[in-house]
């Protein structure tokens, strides 16, 4: 037995590879994989090359400077404020979007009557089809004035937390507002993927739980959520990827400044993508290299986040669909 199994496998492989369709498909997929790696390497190489050009002429520390003036004499630029703004706004977005997305996905997949579930799913899909500049316009014209009330409330009752202490009067063009806007923007992708995962939960699990006398909430807690956990994490990472790189909506809503402030309700801060969009037009060649250097940092942050997500999912193999 032990000797025959590999033989059978080898035969099977030989047989399948001999079919032209299989060979073409395998070649295509291998080619695609290699192409992807080459593209990623090319992007990384380009970013690194241009970034080194810029950083070698930077007169201050690239990581701790709170200023952006690569056209100055001497050139000064740093990414501290941008990294902070990018991470903070994304964290706010995730904190809001993930629970809401899970809620919507559960409602659509397990609670809503069929007639309501479908239109609701379409509406959530639609949110993904809206271009980000429209979110930006909506955010700047509608959301910002309407968040003033919430900001005052947070300032009054949660001001002691420091982060909700609003030190500066003025409209809510802050990282907090950006976080809320990003949350709305990443909602559909998280909801969609999560919903798909929830629908994949084996019916037998749920029926077994029901048969044991579990309520609907207990079914969700005991079979749906554990089964969907890795899916939820993947979906969240997809959303986070969008939040980290969002450009136009942030550029329109935020009142950027190179000032690092923990007061999230105050106008100010900045993100990598927003800064690139804002500075690119008038930048000279060296300024563009500097922006590309900041882009490299965003690239690295994104890689780290995705790596971390894969690691978390990998650790929880027992919950993944393959094991069920």
């Amino acid at each position: 037995m032990a000797t025959t199994t590999p033989d059978i496998q080898r035969n099977r492989r030989a047989k399948s590879a001999s079919r032209p369709g299989d060979r073409i498909f395998s070649g295509l997929s291998r080619g695609s994989g290699i192409t992807l790696l080459v593209i990623m390497a090319a992007i990384a190489g380009f970013l690194t090359y241009r970034a080194v050009l810029a950083i070698s002429k930077d007169s201050t520390s690239f990581f701790t400077t709170f200023e952006w003036n690569p056209a100055g004499d001497p050139p000064v630029f740093g990414i501290a404020v941008l990294a902070f703004g990018t991470v903070v706004s994304s964290i706010i977005a995730m904190a809001i979007a993930v629970p809401v997305a899970i809620g919507i996905a559960l409602f659509i997949s397990h609670y809503a009557p069929r007639k309501l579930a479908k239109p609701l799913a379409y509406v959530v899909d639609l949110l993904a089809a809206v271009p980000s500049i429209i979110y930006g316009l909506w955010g700047a014209i509608f959301l910002v004035p309407y968040l003033d009330g919430l900001n005052l409330w947070l300032d009054e009752y949660l001001g002691w937390t420091y982060i909700f202490d609003k030190a500066n009067e003025g409209p809510a063009r802050s990282l907090f507002t950006v976080g809320i806007l990003l949350a709305i923007m990443i909602l559909p992708i998280i909801t969609n993927v999560t919903r798909e995962v929830f629908l994949q939960v084996p019916k037998m699990h749920e029926e077994a739980a029901l048969a044991l006398g579990a309520t609907r909430w207990e079914v969700i807690r005991m079979s749906v959520l554990p089964f969907g956990r890795s899916g939820i994490i993947s979906a969240s990472m997809l959303g986070l990827g969008r939040a980290l790189g969002e450009t136009m909506a942030v550029a329109v809503v935020l009142s950027p400044s190179f000032l690092l402030s923990g007061h999230l309700l105050d106008p100010g801060g900045g993100t990598f993508a927003q800064n690139i969009a804002a500075k690119f037009n008038e930048a000279n060649e060296y300024g563009r290299d500097a922006l590309i250097a900041s882009g490299l940092v965003l690239f690295v942050i994104t890689l780290l986040v995705n790596g971390a997500a894969r690691w978390i999912i990998g650790r929880r193999k027992e919950y993944s669909g393959a094991a069920a």
Partner: protein, 381 residues
């Protein structure tokens, strides 16, 4: 599964169509605001100007790119010029001065619009494209940079350079600060926080304001005067002149800077500057022309780079001004676009071309400078 996904796609497509349709419509709506003066200007002058435009063999397509500060002026000129000379198409992309110069030095455009004169290294680079010559700066459009504010009950705010510097540097944070009160006796200044708005993008407008502040209020503005990005800390920012104008219009107790046309289009009150002249100077195109007249030419030969006198105390000269240049080769322009280039620049700097400007809130060039540019344009080769 498959079916529902298809439906989802279709629904998304319809939704996207509706939303983008709405955007297109609303975009048109908001455009009208800023372009109104330009359109009116165009209508009023097309017929009069058309007869005086010399086409001189202009034909085909002329590509240009650069400063967005002169976009509305360029739109007017292009419209009038194209109406007068059939078969000519001029395409000016307002991608910013930096982008314009880059494109010019790569030989992609016949001329570039720029808010600041070419730097030495940019001139050196232009010699590759111009072959026998080099890039020269030809001043074409001037404009006042207005300090706009919104403060209920205060109609004629007067500030001087030092106060403006302190406001934008967050050293003066209340409207009833003694420094402001002293300049505005009798005005009811509220005890509210000043919300100072600046540009979040890099801009020649920011650079010119910086040059003004560091010349006229050197003690209070210690930042890099040549910085195109906002050099000070704090305050609030918005994208583009239109963004700053909208922000100022929307927030009580705000102040910001932008080209005069944005103040007119958004009905924003503008600050008069106490320059040391007998009376505070309002931001008008005439007053800006007077300040530009005091400029010295620092370029040599055919280069007309100007050095503005920001600390001017001349009567009625509004000191915060921006001069935008057209940059072309003095020799070695491309043969196929040269006639069109010359004819167009000729029109732009002609009396008719300059007269049109005031209607879009730009300042015409002072007579002396205009005369010099008029002499240079025909010598381009």
């Amino acid at each position: 599964m498959k079916l529902s996904r298809k439906n989802g796609l279709r629904a998304s497509a319809i939704g996207a169509l509706v939303v983008s349709g709405a955007l297109v419509l609303s975009a048109c709506g908001s455009d009208n605001n800023t372009e109104t003066p330009a359109k009116e200007g165009g209508k009023a002058t097309t017929s009069a100007a058309a007869s005086n435009i010399a086409c001189e063999g202009a034909k085909g397509q002329l590509l240009a790119a650069g400063s967005s500060a002169q976009k509305n002026a360029m739109d007017l000129w292009v419209k009038n010029f194209q109406a007068a000379c059939s078969g000519v198409e001029i395409n000016y992309q307002s991608i910013g001065s930096g982008g314009g110069i880059t494109k010019f030095n790569q030989g992609q455009v016949a001329f570039a619009g720029s808010d600041s004169a070419l730097k030495d290294e940019e001139v050196a680079e232009s010699q590759k494209i111009c072959k026998t010559g080099k890039g020269v700066n030809l001043p074409m459009v001037g404009g006042p940079i207005a300090i706009g504010y919104k403060l209920d009950g205060v109609d004629n705010l007067v500030l001087d350079a030092s106060t403006i510097a302190k406001i934008f540097d967050n050293k003066i944070t209340k409207w009833n600060d003694p420094a402001i009160a002293k300049l505005n006796p009798g005005a009811k200044l509220p005890d509210s926080t000043i919300q100072a708005f600046h540009r979040s993008d890099e801009s020649g407008t920011t650079q010119n304001l910086g040059k003004y502040l560091s010349t006229a209020a050197a003690a209070d503005w210690k930042h890099d005067p040549k910085s195109k990005s906002w050099p000070a800390q704090g305050g609030q920012a918005a994208n583009g002149s239109s963004g700053v104008a909208t922000a100022v219009k929307d927030s009580e107790g705000s102040i910001g800077y932008f080209e005069l046309s944005y103040a007119t289009a958004n009905k924003i009150s503008t600050v008069s500057i106490a320059t040391g002249a007998a009376a505070p100077v309002a931001a008008t195109t005439d007053n800006a022309s007077k300040a530009i007249a005091a400029a010295k030419i620092k370029g040599t030969g055919n280069d007309m780079a100007l050095s503005l006198d920001y600390a001017t105390k001349a009567e009625g000269a509004y000191p915060i001004v921006l001069v935008t240049y057209e940059i072309a080769c003095d020799k070695g322009n491309k043969a196929e676009t040269l006639p069109t280039l010359k004819a167009f620049l000729n029109y732009a700097v002609s009396e008719e071309g300059q007269k049109v400007l005031a209607e879009a809130d730009y300042a015409p060039l002072p007579a002396e400078i205009a005369a010099k540019v008029r002499a240079i344009v025909p010598t381009l080769s």
